[in-house]
């Protein structure tokens, strides 16, 4: 039991560090002149990948702290993206128990649905608030790329950070 607690907290610390690194890399003043494809949202991809693997680790508080910081730093409407991510992760958490034993393709599909829902919900809320928003094509591209890099995030989590799927029996106690 003690070892389990230690594992959870060390993995949480690892995720916080990973989030800070991703945010730092995004803030680097490098790609100012390239205006091609919008880069994928690595933070979201890693969050969803870890959520599927170790749902206990990804506590609500940590998601709120990380994404709220990202909202403030990345010039997004503060709170909105965090709230939507929280909603989607809770929804995925409930669906997860039934999806644990299925193969990767179905997991990927549900992630794609989740990301698409996130983007559309964000646009919908911004539309209601009459807030300025980016073009639909660009944000769809952003979402597509995020879904496309999801397997990479999963592979990195699996082989580098050793964040593996917990078995169904563990998931029930968790």
């Amino acid at each position: 039991m003690d070892r389990q607690v230690w594992y959870i907290w060390s993995t949480r610390a690892l995720f916080m560090a990973l989030a800070l690194v991703i945010l730092g890399l995004q803030l680097l003043p490098l790609g100012l002149s390239d205006t091609g494809l919008p880069p994928p949202d690595w933070l979201l991809a890693f969050t969803l990948a870890w959520l599927y693997r170790q749902p206990v680790v990804m506590s609500i508080g940590m998601i709120v702290v990380v994404f709220l910081l990202a909202d403030f730093l990345l010039q997004r409407p503060p709170g909105l993206w965090t709230a939507l991510v929280l909603l989607i992760t809770e929804w995925l958490r409930q669906r997860r128990v039934t999806l644990t034993e299925v193969n990767f393709l179905i997991e990927w599909g549900s992630i794609a649905g989740a990301v698409l829902a996130l983007l559309l919900l964000e646009r919908f809320v911004l539309w209601i608030l009459v807030a300025p928003q980016t073009s639909l094509g660009l944000s769809l591209m952003h979402g597509l790329l995020t879904v496309a890099v999801y397997p990479i995030a999963v592979a990195v989590s699996h082989y580098v950070f050793r964040v593996r799927k917990v078995a169904l029996s563990d998931a029930e106690t968790a």
Binding site: G24, L28, P29, L32, L68, L73, Q75, G79
Partner: protein
């Protein structure tokens, strides 16, 4: 196992409640952002101010390494570059000769016309700390802020052309919204035809020139400079050149090297003829000699406030120099401003 289930049975409603409260808080945060935007943006600037400079020790080496790799790629074509540079140097020598002659002539003419150069076009130099981090926003974070006397709305240039406009000042950092940002609108003049246009960013490398009266008068390669309309920017700062895309849209190719923005100059602009009081509409707020203001002005309060504003704008010289040692205050600093023709005509 059974105990776990027990815990679960009352942990779940608590969790649901917590989730609902959190969601409500977050959505209301968004609502507040929408309603009271300036205050929220100040909060955002304060958060960025406290987080990003702390990350700098980690970010600086990575940025440096990436830039080095970028530069290293150019070593591969060293020979051609060398040849090219020699040719350019030859041309530049000729230009320099012409420039020196012109400068002397210019100085003589200025002396004849008793032109006063605008003393307020001095600048503070800052280092780029971070970019916006988002693919849909084009902005930069500079390491100079309110403590260096930076004010919202000031123009920012690299060595050559306008880069953007200060929008959001925290204590030690400030944000520059680039001309390429989708929210950027700058009034410009196209030389030599003198047409007015609005430079509108659209998240691409070359902003669009909108509202040109006679597009036929504008040809590719024409110079685009700021017009100074509306007091947004000082006039006659170089922005770039006109380019016409294949679909016939008129865009501006920016003179500033957006690929390698490292040091930026923030121009101290005029505070402008800001109306601080309704009474200022009638009485002239400028000439601002302190004795004249105190003698003739029946109500000295507004003019004092203007004085403070100007002192704010001019003050902070020394702190600006401290940040880099590159900020210069002598008025013959090589700010790439073309000779202020309109002003010269006025004085004549």
């Amino acid at each position: 196992m059974a105990r776990d289930r027990d815990e679960d049975s009352y942990a779940r409603p608590v969790r649901r409640l917590l989730l609902t409260v959190l969601l409500l808080c977050l959505f209301s945060l968004t609502l507040i952002w929408r309603i009271d935007n300036p205050r929220m943006e100040r909060l955002r600037a304060a958060i960025t101010d406290s987080v990003v400079p702390n990350m700098e020790w980690a970010m600086a080496p990575v940025t440096g390494a990436a830039r080095m790799a970028d530069n290293f790629q150019s070593y591969t074509r060293l020979y051609e570059q060398n040849q090219e540079l020699r040719r350019e140097l030859q041309q530049m020598r000729a230009f320099r000769e012409a420039a020196i002659q012109l400068e002397q002539e210019n100085a003589r003419l200025r002396d004849l016309a008793r032109v006063q150069l605008d003393p307020e076009l001095t600048y503070v130099t800052g280092v780029v700390l971070a970019d916006s981090g988002s693919p849909f926003r084009r902005s930069l974070l500079l390491n100079v802020g309110a403590r260096d006397g930076i004010l919202n709305g000031w123009a920012t240039m690299d060595g050559l052309g306008v880069v953007g406009r200060i929008s959001g000042v925290a204590d030690s950092t400030s944000r520059v919204v680039l001309l390429t940002d989708a929210n950027s609108r700058i009034p410009v003049t196209i030389q030599p035809s003198g047409q007015q246009a609005l430079l509108t960013g659209d998240n691409s490398q070359a902003p669009i020139l909108e509202f040109i009266e006679d597009p036929e008068d504008v040809s590719p390669g024409d110079r685009v400079v700021t017009s100074g309309d509306g007091g947004v920017f000082p006039p006659d700062l170089l922005v770039g050149q006109v380019a016409v895309t294949r679909d016939g849209r008129i865009r501006a190719r920016l003179a500033a090297d957006y690929g390698r923005l490292n040091f930026l100059r923030v121009l101290r602009s005029h505070p402008g003829s800001t109306l601080l009081d309704t009474g200022d509409i009638i009485g002239p707020p400028w000439p601002l000699e302190p004795e004249a203001a105190s003698e003739s002005g029946p109500d000295p309060a507004p003019s004092e406030r203007v004085q403070d504003l100007i002192e704010d704008a001019i003050g902070g010289d020394t702190s600006g120099e401290d940040t880099l040692g590159e900020g210069s205050d002598d008025s013959d600093a090589p700010i790439p401003v073309p000779a202020p023709r309109p002003r010269a005509e006025v004085t004549q």
